[in-house]
């Protein structure tokens, strides 16, 4: 078990290293210049600035410096926010993105699981179709359309919720709902097929034969067993939503880190985008690892010895 975890961590480190390097080199390939302004900076000064930020050195050297700092947990200074460290930007933005993401996951998970259960228990009947239809409806409309419509309708027209920003519980309702929609459909579907799987199993027949009540079968056998595989898709989801959603954060003016995905690339801010990608990578790898370990602990059929079969 311990050896397995060590091995996984080593693999994770290599993964992060490759991802960071890939992002870093791709950023070098995009056109543009970080020291750019509508009013032109004079060439001599631009040279001085490049030197100051170490951009005058050969790429390999720059890469070496970056990786050395990275290994020490220093993601460097942002270009977009000149006097702020990338570490600080992530540290300050993360709580907002994470709070939004976790709420969305909670809502998405609960609603999704419920719809999935209803669908599976009524397999091929009206309720099945209806639940799945509701679930799919959420993913059928682009996020920005839903967000903009909600904002106008609930915020301006009915004036029952604040239009934007992230300050009180009321502020969180619309963004949470808008973000959870994508999740609902996926969870509902997954839960449904997982439930159907379980329902067909022999031990359910046994339980029925033993004369257990339907409620008890559904609750302690079907749902319990069906929910397990659904947890596996949570790992990547958590990593995904923790790092924020560009669309929702932009429309609701939430100070998370999601908006930097687009902004930092547009502004040629190499340190920021590489830092965020790296952070996301670490989070993703870590979440997957955690899910695997948890899964192994919950489900005795899976052995954590690293062999697939």
């Amino acid at each position: 078990m311990f050896k397995y975890i060590l091995k996984r961590i080593a693999g994770a480190l290599v993964t992060v290293w490759i991802v960071v390097s890939l992002t870093w080199f791709m950023m070098q390939a995009i056109p543009g210049d970080p020291f750019q302004n509508e009013r032109r900076v004079i060439p001599e000064l631009k040279e001085q600035l490049r030197k100051y930020y170490g951009l005058d050195k050969p790429l390999v050297v720059q890469y070496g410096v970056y990786m050395k700092n990275f290994a020490q947990g220093n993601l460097g200074m942002s270009f977009l926010r000149k006097n702020r460290m990338v570490n600080t930007i992530i540290k300050e933005g993360l709580p907002y993105s994470a709070s939004l993401g976790l709420r969305a996951i909670a809502v998405g998970f609960i609603v999704g699981i419920s719809l999935g259960i209803v669908a599976a228990l009524n397999h091929n009947k009206g309720w099945d179709r209806f639940s799945i239809f509701v679930a799919i409806l959420g993913v059928s409309i682009p996020g920005f359309v839903i967000a903009a419509t909600l904002q106008w309708f609930l915020g301006v027209k009915l004036k029952i919720l604040p239009v934007a920003q992230w300050k009180s519980f009321a502020h969180t309702i619309m963004p949470t709902f808008a973000l959870s929609l994508t999740m609902i459909a996926q969870v509902a579907r997954f839960m449904r097929s997982s439930m159907l799987d379980v329902i067909g199993q022999d031990y359910i027949k046994t339980a029925k034969a033993k004369g257990l009540s339907t409620m008890k079968i559904i609750w302690s056998h079907e749902i319990r067993n069906a929910i397990l595989p659904v947890i596996t898709i949570l790992g990547p989801w958590i990593a995904f939503v923790l790092t924020g959603s560009f669309v929702i954060e932009t429309i609701f003016a939430i100070p998370g880190i999601g908006k930097f995905y687009v902004q930092s690339i547009n502004a040629q801010d190499y340190p920021l985008i590489t830092g965020i990608t790296a952070f996301m990578g670490v989070l993703m790898v870590f979440m997957n690892l955690l899910v695997d370990i948890l899964y192994g602990l919950i489900d005795p059929r899976i052995r954590l010895d690293g062999s697939s079969k």
């Binding site: 056109p31 001085q48 100051y52 926010r81 933005g93 932009t250 003016a253 908006k259």
Partner: protein, 551 residues
């Protein structure tokens, strides 16, 4: 297209602006603050505005965008203070004068205090200015100080600190020696690069200077109360400000709302007192009293790459310019309060030689809007000159957002319909656009320019050969000579005559095809009094504003 409106940046290009007539200078009488109610206002003096986005930095010596300069203007005061319309009034300096040769400027400071109660001294200015040219930390606008003796040398490590021409005579007197006479040096000192910084405080907070409320020291009308990065900044009245009696607002909240529709929704829901700009539909949704219009000072045009195999021909450039229906673009497509531009220098805000009449009045335009007939003739002539029978497909670079692409498409269709010229869109993010413009790596580009100071030179200076902002790579020796002569000309009438000739040449060669002068509608609550927008940075002016009749 949001565009940074930086005050004095093009100043560099007028470094050679050597004026001989430069007598002692007495500052103009202070413009009176708007008539404020005499009795103490009863309502909460609080204002909520939109800052649009988090600033890049508030290290004043490094500030460059309009947002940063605005905040500087709210919480700080330099030797002089911007007074709107591109003019300045005395700030921390009570009075100042230049030597007869215009090279030595002496500033006399008033009794002003920092927000912690300690006095503002000449040394604070010297320390701040030396920071700006510190060779260890180059900043984008370090070169603003290059007029000062040995400043450039020091910033490049070629001179020592004590050789720089900034001298503290005593606590209340600062003496600055310039390399050459600069008549507008008092204008430059209002800019944030020339901010005072107190040494003991700066050394105490180190790198963290001006990054959180505790690391700010203000000497201006307001001070920073809180700063939630990427979300909001709260400013409160600074009781230690020397002119605190003229400041009515107690609290100003600046939110950071980048999405245009979100901003408007928040204004409609009562969560904002001001919107940065309104489109036609938004304007229609508001009551008349809260909609106001101002010139944001910018002129918009098409950059023609004068080295392009087709566009190197001036008749073709002219044909493309004449064939545009500006009126239709403005009224039917953009639905904005813009004014068609058939010339380069902006109307209303740039005065002629007499300092009063707008420069544009003497010659409103150089050609007719939507002059398809002439355009066709010019095109034919141009093609003959080039020896070609058809125009190959060309590209226009434009902003990637929906409106940027929309305006460019309207032009695309006009060229196709009127001249049968195929033009393809190249939507790119602004960082890419600026970079490519600077490298002259484009066919055509949809661009704009805002003035730095109220003089035609702020525009005309762009197109001298090799100029930093000469995106079309235009070069005409006659034009260069006129601009150079105008800068050196002491006689104002003659100088303006030369500039007029320069604009004539520019509009004949047409390296840029003018489109429109941009005016904007914005919303501000009727209970907010004394709130102004300005064509010159800092755009949003509320320091003397007050709230009246809200309830």
């Amino acid at each position: 297209m949001k565009k940074s409106l930086v005050i004095v940046l093009a100043m560099l290009m007028i470094l050679s602006f050597t004026l001989t007539a430069c007598g002692p200078k007495t500052p103009a009488a202070e413009p009176a603050a708007p008539a404020a109610p005499t009795e103490a206002p009863k309502e909460a003096q609080e204002l909520t505005i939109n800052l649009f986005a988090e600033v890049s930095t508030l290290d004043f010596q490094a500030c460059s965008s309009s947002g940063e300069i605005q905040i500087y203007n709210w919480i700080m005061e330099g030797l002089t203070r911007s007074a709107g319309g591109g003019s300045v009034k005395p700030g921390i300096a009570e009075k100042y004068e230049a030597s007869p040769d215009g090279k030595v400027w002496t500033f006399h400071l008033r009794d002003a205090k920092w927000s912690d109660g300690k006095p503002v001294t000449a040394n604070d200015f010297k320390y701040g200015w030396m920071r700006a040219i510190d060779p260890k930390t180059p900043r984008d606008y370090t070169y603003f100080l290059y007029d000062i003796v040995n400043a450039e040398e020091y910033s490049q490590g070629k001179a020592t600190a004590d050789q720089v021409g900034i001298k503290v005579v005593d606590d209340k007197t600062l003496e600055v020696t310039l390399k050459q006479p600069v008549t507008y040096f008092d204008y430059m000192t209002s800019f944030s690069t020339f901010a005072p910084v107190r040494q003991d405080f700066a050394e105490q907070v180190g790198d963290k200077l001006n990054t959180s409320p505790e690391t700010f020291l203000s000497n201006g009308p307001f001070k920073v109360e809180s700063w939630t990065h990427e979300s909001e900044m709260v400013f409160v009245k600074n009781p230690e400000y020397w002119d605190a009696a003229s400041i009515k607002l107690d609290k100003v909240t600046g939110l950071m709302i980048a999405e245009d529709s979100t901003e408007f929704n928040m204004y409609e829901a009562g969560e904002l007192d001001h919107t940065i700009a309104l489109n036609a539909d938004q304007k229609a949704a508001l009551t008349k009293g809260e909609v106001r219009k101002y010139s944001d000072g910018s002129v918009w045009f098409i950059d023609f790459n004068t080295k392009h195999k087709i566009l190197k021909n001036k008749n073709i450039r002219k044909a493309m310019t004449y064939a545009i229906d500006r009126k239709s673009l403005i009224e039917n497509v953009a639905k904005m309060p813009w004014v068609p531009a058939m010339a380069f220098v902006q109307p209303d805000i740039i005065p002629d030689a007499d300092g009063k009449t707008p420069w544009r009045n003497a010659k409103p335009g150089y050609f007719k809007d939507n002059d398809v007939e002439t355009a066709k003739q010019l095109l034919e002539q141009g093609m003959k000159e080039l020896g070609i029978t058809s125009i190959p497909k060309m590209k226009i670079m434009c902003n990637e957002n929906a409106t940027g692409q929309m305006y460019a498409q309207a032009l695309q269709e006009m060229w196709k319909k009127n001249l049968n010229i195929e033009v393809e869109l190249e939507p790119v993010p602004s960082s890419v656009r600026i970079d490519r413009q600077q490298k002259h790596d484009f066919d055509m580009s949809y661009a704009g320019w805002g003035p730095d100071y109220p003089d035609p030179m702020t525009d005309l200076d762009l197109y001298v050969t090799g100029g930093g902002n000469n995106d079309p790579d235009y070069s005409n020796p006659e034009y260069d000579a006129l601009i150079k002569a105008a800068k050196a000309e002491p006689d104002k009438a003659k100088k303006f005559e030369m500039m007029r000739k320069a604009e004539d040449i520019l509009m004949d060669d047409m390296p840029i095809g003018p489109l429109y002068f941009r005016y904007r509608n914005y919303g501000v609550r009727e209970y907010v009094k004394g709130f102004e927008r300005d064509s010159f940075a800092p755009d949003i002016q509320f320091i003397y504003a007050w709230i009246e009749g809200k309830n």
